[in-house]
């Protein structure tokens, strides 16, 4: 059984995960997104979906040999379809996206994170959607306001949360009256928690402080249909609920050995390195 890692060649977390898996004696194969442009046989017959992917070196990957997939796909790169130009290139990329979504969705093995039609790496939500999911998961959340006109819809007591567009013609007057995103002021302390499956690792905060946040983090990951998630929090100043949700990242950079080992275990690889 093989753990498949799909990521850009320069993607640090994928590279570190591959090293950890190999050090643990696990069979792991690292492929770059451009390798997903050719070599496909993806067959759907009722509930039975079978895929065979033949890589450039002639290696064939069948669904049945995969123990899990570590998915860091941000998209199919233009370099995968250099033979096409203009609108044909756009079409080719759209078609490949459709195929890869279908393949990653069909796999019976764990996929971290599973693709959705909106995002090859899953977990693509707006800041407003993350706020609502976090609130429903038990987090204290900060308020957000989007407005096309600060004159018509002023945001009192909130601070500007975006960067003013540097587009030609943007004037100081427009900066004060035009489109803007506002948020509530955040605290001075920031921290995060890393969710891998059901395990939650506190980052820049004590284990004791993080304990009440563990279950909301797990609920948030489930609500977002992801199994790997970094949750950012900021201090609220309120003694009863000292931490507030400040954002989420479904494709976190990971440096620590512990979470990387947990991912390798979750993706179930065993046997000799490939």
């Amino acid at each position: 059984m093989t753990l498949l890692v799909i990521a850009d060649a320069t993607e640090g977390t994928a590279a570190r995960l591959t090293l950890v898996a190999r050090r643990l004696g696990r069979a792991v194969r690292f492929i770059v997104p451009a390798e997903l442009a050719t070599g496909w046989s993806h067959r759907i017959e009722g509930r039975d979906v079978q895929t065979r992917l033949t890589l450039r070196d002639g290696t064939t990957i069948h669904d049945a040999v995969l123990s899990g997939v570590f998915n860091r796909l941000r998209g199919i790169p233009d370099t995968a379809v250099v033979r096409f130009k203009g609108a044909d290139r756009e079409y080719a990329l759209t078609e490949l996206h459709a195929l890869v979504v279908s393949w990653l969705s069909s796999l019976c093995c764990p996929v971290m994170n599973r693709a959705t039609p909106n995002a090859l790496a899953g977990g693509a939500y707006s800041a407003a959607r993350w706020q609502l999911l976090a609130h429903a998961s038990g987090f204290d959340t900060t308020a957000l306001r989007y407005t096309t006109s600060q004159r018509r819809f002023p945001a009192k007591g909130m601070v500007r949360a975006d960067r003013v567009s540097a587009a030609h013609g943007w004037s100081p007057a427009l900066e004060l009256s035009g489109p803007a995103t506002f948020g509530e002021p955040i605290g001075r302390r920031s921290a995060s928690l890393l969710v891998v499956g059901e395990t939650v690792w506190p980052e820049q905060m004590a284990r004791q402080e993080a304990a009440p946040l563990a279950e909301p983090c797990r609920r948030l990951a489930r609500a977002a249909s992801v199994t790997l998630l970094r949750v950012h929090v900021t201090d609220s100043g309120a003694p009863a609920q000292p931490w507030r949700f400040a954002g989420a990242d479904p494709m976190p950079a990971i440096f620590d050995e512990g979470p990387l080992r947990a991912i390798v275990d979750a993706l179930g690889a065993s046997g000799a390195a490939a």
Partner: protein
Amino acid sequence: MILFAGIPSEPPLALAIAAAEVHHVRHLVLHQRHAPFIDMSLDVRDGAVTGALWVWERCVPLTDVSGVYARVVDSANLPETRPRIGGPPHVAERCAFLHAVLNDWLEIAECPVLNRAGAMASNASKPYQLQRIVAAGFAVPDTLVTDDPDAVRHFACAHRRLIYKSASGVRSIVHELGPDRSDAALARLRNLPTQFQQYIDGTNVRVHVVGTDVFATEGRTNAVDYRYAHCDDEDVAMTAITLPAAIADRCVDLSERLELPFCGIDLKRAKDGEWYCFEVNPSPAYSYYQEHTGQKIADAVVRYLSAGAP
């Protein structure tokens, strides 16, 4: 109040607006071409979504909206939202921001939305959507996506006739892979994986689901793709029909599973009586069917979106 968003002269939106007028249902039209003159705010606080729209010098709280029918086109394609010589240079950025906020709201709005973009994305991958269709209990045609000519030849041996079409949401005309397919033509497959499907012989049925209302239209033609029968010099006869109750229920169940309360489901009743499902269109151009059959689909849209109105 119902919000209609898009280009109001576009037939599906125009029919729904006309239905709201006929039935005296309060509504507001957000005309995308007037985007430079529309303002919007969106607030998310403590799990609640509020905000307001400023349209036609009126401020409408978003909480007053009972439902939304959105046929929003990419704002970058609208001439009114592009920078113009001598015009204010920030119009394009401002309109893009307005559309981003509108789209954000449509995703999280507490009222019914026909349909939310997140759910509509299932149609961006037809083989992915087929897997969801199978889970709802419909038969689907055997499907192969490949860039391997040999795999197509084997697939063709297993099925008497094959068709091919796009795997993505890009609209394509369904073509039959003719028996005269040459090795040279199949070799072109190596450039890009292509979707092939078993040809199902039978009668096309388009089903529009609006909430729990079901409208079925039978399209009889000799063309492979009844939507483009005129391209093959073929006619298509459209007739409103009543589906067997079990199939109608399955269509409603499928629309709920896909979170598409308004959708156009492409079915085929095969000669052996099996009902096959090919795809679910998340933004159906129902006006074509309504005009041919007299089905009151627009009325159902208005009824669905005004159901929660005070």
